[in-house]
C-alpha cells in the first residue's frame, strides 16, 4: 500500500486462506479497494510446475483468470471509491447493557471476547474494586498491542486492563503483574500461522505477596494467581489489540494450549543460581514479569543422569531451530547441574549453545529459516552467513547463547525439566513495581 501512495499501481498476491485477513488489513489502512489477487494455499513446498499452474488457472475467490486479475488490477480505470479511500472513526463503548448475565455471557462469546470458558462479568463495581490494586489512574494509557507486525496498533488504558483482569477471575492484588505484562508490548495472542503463545515468568517479592506458585504443579492449573494472571494476559491481549478471531486476527493453523494461561513464578529461594530478573539487570528486591515468545514445542526429560549430555543434545536438536528454548528445571535438576560443574546458568547455557547442532542441509531446509534467516545470510549478517556457507553435512550451531534462557521451578517431587519454545523478548523483563 506504500507503493500506491508513491503513485505506483500495485496488485498484491495472497493465498486464498488469507483473503479475509488481507481485505481487513486493507480496510484498516484506509485503502479498502486495494487490488488483490489470490492463488490456492499453499505456495510453500509446491514445485515450479505447480506454481505455474496456479498462474494459469483461475483466482479461487473470483473464478476469473488469475492473470486477468493482475493485468486489470494494474490497468483498469479507477472508480470514485478508489479515488477517495475510506476514512472512518471506530469507537468502543465504555459500558454495555443492562442485560441479564446469561445474555451478556453469550454476547461476550459471540463477539469473541472470551477464551470460550465462562468469565466473571466486568461490572462497574468489580472493575472499581480491581482498580484498587494499583495507584495508577484508570484513564492512564498503558500501551499498545497488535496481533502481528503488519496490523495496526490498538491503545488501551489501566481501566481496560482491569476489565480483562476481572473477566479472568483475577484479584486486585494481582493487577500490578497484569499491568506489567500488558505494558511489555508483547501480545500473548500473535496471529502467526505458526501458533505462538507467550509464557511469562514472575520474579521478586511480588511472588510471595500474592501467593504465586513455583512449587508442585507450577506450570499447571493449581495456583489461583498463576492461573488467572496468565488468563488475564491472554484475554487482554486478544481484546485490547483488536481481536484474536480465527481467519481474521488469528491464523495459527493448529492453535496452542498455552494460549489459555501460561504464567508461573521462579523458585528463587530453592534455586542454586541467580534469579532470571537479576540476570537481566534488576535487583533481587525488584519484582518483574518476563515474557517468552514461543510455546510451539515442549520437550521433557529427567535427570541429569550419566548420559545427560547425549539426552540434552537429542532434545536440543529436536527444538525448532528458528525458535530457541527456555529451559524450565526443577530445583533437583538445577542442583544436579551444579554438581556437574555448572555453577551458573550462563555456563549451562553456553554448553547448550555449543552442543545444539544440526547438519547444514537440515538447518536450511526449513520454511521459516528460509524466510527469515536466509535474507540475512545472503546479506552477510553473522552468524547466518557462516551457517549458509557451511558444507551440507557440516554441523552448524542452532542457537546463540543469548537466545537460550533457564528458569527454575517445580516441587522437587521429581528431577524434571522441560525445553519450551521461548525466546526472551527484547526488553521483555518489565517492572511490576512500576504498576503498584
Amino acid at each position: 500500500m506504500s507503493l500506491e501512495e508513491s503513485g505506483i499501481p500495485t496488485v498484491a498476491v495472497h493465498t486464498d486462506i488469507f483473503a479475509r485477513l488481507a481485505k481487513s488489513v486493507a480496510l484498516a489502512n484506509g485503502m479498502p479497494t486495494t487490488r488483490q489477487a489470490f492463488v490456492p494455499q499453499p505456495v510453500v513446498d509446491r514445485s515450479a510446475a505447480q506454481l505455474r499452474a496456479y498462474i494459469e488457472d483461475t483466482d479461487p475467490l473470483t473464478g476469473r483468470p488469475f492473470m486477468q486479475e493482475l493485468i486489470e488490477g494494474l490497468s483498469s480505470p479507477l472508480n470514485d471509491n478508489d479515488l477517495k479511500g475510506l476514512s472512518f472513526e471506530r469507537s468502543t463503548p465504555r459500558l454495555l447493557g443492562p442485560d441479564s448475565e446469561d445474555n451478556l455471557q453469550n454476547l461476550f462469546i459471540e463477539n469473541n471476547w472470551t477464551d470460550n470458558l465462562p468469565i466473571v462479568m466486568p461490572t462497574e463495581e468489580r472493575v472499581a474494586r480491581m482498580l484498587e490494586g494499583t495507584s495508577h489512574a484508570p484513564d492512564e494509557v498503558v500501551g499498545r498491542l497488535r496481533p502481528t507486525a503488519f496490523r495496526e496498533f490498538w491503545e488501551f488504558t489501566v481501566e481496560k486492563v482491569a476489565v480483562n483482569a476481572v473477566m479472568a477471575g483475577a484479584r486486585p492484588e494481582y493487577l500490578p503483574v497484569i499491568l506489567a505484562l500488558a505494558a511489555s508490548g508483547q501480545t500473548a495472542r500473535s496471529s502467526s500461522t505458526t501458533s505462538f503463545a507467550v509464557i511469562s515468568v514472575v520474579n521478586g517479592p511480588i511472588r510471595g505477596e500474592i501467593g504465586m506458585g513455583d512449587g508442585i504443579g507450577a506450570m499447571g492449573p493449581f495456583n489461583h494467581a498463576n492461573a488467572t494472571i496468565g488468563r488475564a494476559y491472554n484475554l487482554l491481549s486478544q481484546n485490547l489489540q483488536g481481536g484474536s478471531v480465527p481467519g481474521d486476527t488469528y491464523m495459527g493453523s493448529l492453535g496452542n494450549w498455552y494460549n489459555y494461561s501460561a504464567t508461573f513464578a521462579e523458585a528463587e529461594e530453592r534455586s542454586p543460581w541467580q534469579p532470571f530478573h537479576v540476570q537481566h539487570g534488576f535487583e533481587p528486591g525488584d519484582s518483574t514479569a518476563s515474557v517468552f515468545f514461543g510455546g510451539r514445542y515442549t520437550i521433557a526429560g529427567f535427570g541429569p543422569r550419566e548420559t545427560w549430555a547425549e539426552q540434552f543434545r537429542r532434545a536440543l536438536a529436536a527444538c525448532q531451530h528458528n525458535l530457541a528454548p527456555m529451559l524450565v528445571m526443577d530445583p533437583i535438576v538445577a542442583r544436579g547441574f551444579v554438581d556437574l560443574g555448572f555453577d551458573t546458568k550462563e555456563k549451562l547455557i553456553d554448553w547448550c549453545a555449543e552442543n545444539a547442532r544440526l547438519p547444514a542441509r537440515e538447518y536450511w531446509d526449513d520454511q521459516w529459516v528460509q524466510t527469515l534467516q536466509r535474507p540475512l545470510a545472503v546479506a552477510g549478517v553473522e552468524p547466518h552467513a557462516s551457517r549458509l556457507a557451511a558444507a551440507p553435512d557440516e554441523l552448524v550451531k542452532m542457537f546463540e547463547p543469548h537466545e537460550i534462557s533457564i528458569v527454575v521451578a517445580g516441587g522437587e517431587t521429581q528431577g524434571a525439566w522441560k525445553m519450551i519454545a521461548g525466546r526472551h523478548v527484547e526488553n521483555g523483563t518489565v517492572s511490576v513495581d512500576a504498576w503498584r
Binding site: 507503493l3 503513485g7 484506509g30 443492562p98 540475512l376 546479506a379
Partner: protein, 96 residues
C-alpha cells in the same frame, strides 16, 4: 426475573482510519516496467520466477525485473524508492 447487569466493554481503542487513494492505473502494460516484488516468503522466489516467465511469453513488451526487500517482515524504503523511480507498476507476492 434475573438481575440486569451493566458491564464494561473489554476492547481497546482502535486508531482512526484515514482513507488513502489508489495510484492512477496504467492505460496499458505495453512497454511498461512492472516490478515483481518477491516478499521473501519461502518459495515466493519460485512463484515470482514463474510469473516473470509467463509475462515474458505472453506479454513480451512488458519488462518485469524481480526485486526483493532487504529482509522479511520489514518495510524497505530503499527498495520502495527504487520501484517508484524505475517502475510503472508493481506486483507483490506471495504474501500472507
Amino acid at each position: 426475573m434475573s438481575e440486569k447487569l451493566t458491564v464494561h466493554d473489554p476492547r481497546g481503542y482502535p486508531p482512526k482510519v484515514t482513507g488513502k487513494r489508489l495510484a492512477p492505473r496504467l492505460q496499458s502494460l505495453d512497454g511498461k516496467v512492472v516490478y515483481l516484488v518477491d516478499c521473501l516468503f519461502d518459495n515466493s522466489a519460485v512463484f515470482m520466477e514463474e510469473l516473470r516467465q509467463w509475462i515474458a511469453e505472453n506479454l513480451p513488451n512488458v519488462e518485469t525485473p524481480i526485486i526483493t526487500p532487504s529482509r522479511s517482515w520489514a518495510d524497505d524504503p530503499e527498495m520502495r524508492a527504487k520501484v517508484a523511480a524505475g517502475g510503472d507498476a508493481a506486483i507483490l507476492g506471495v504474501g500472507l
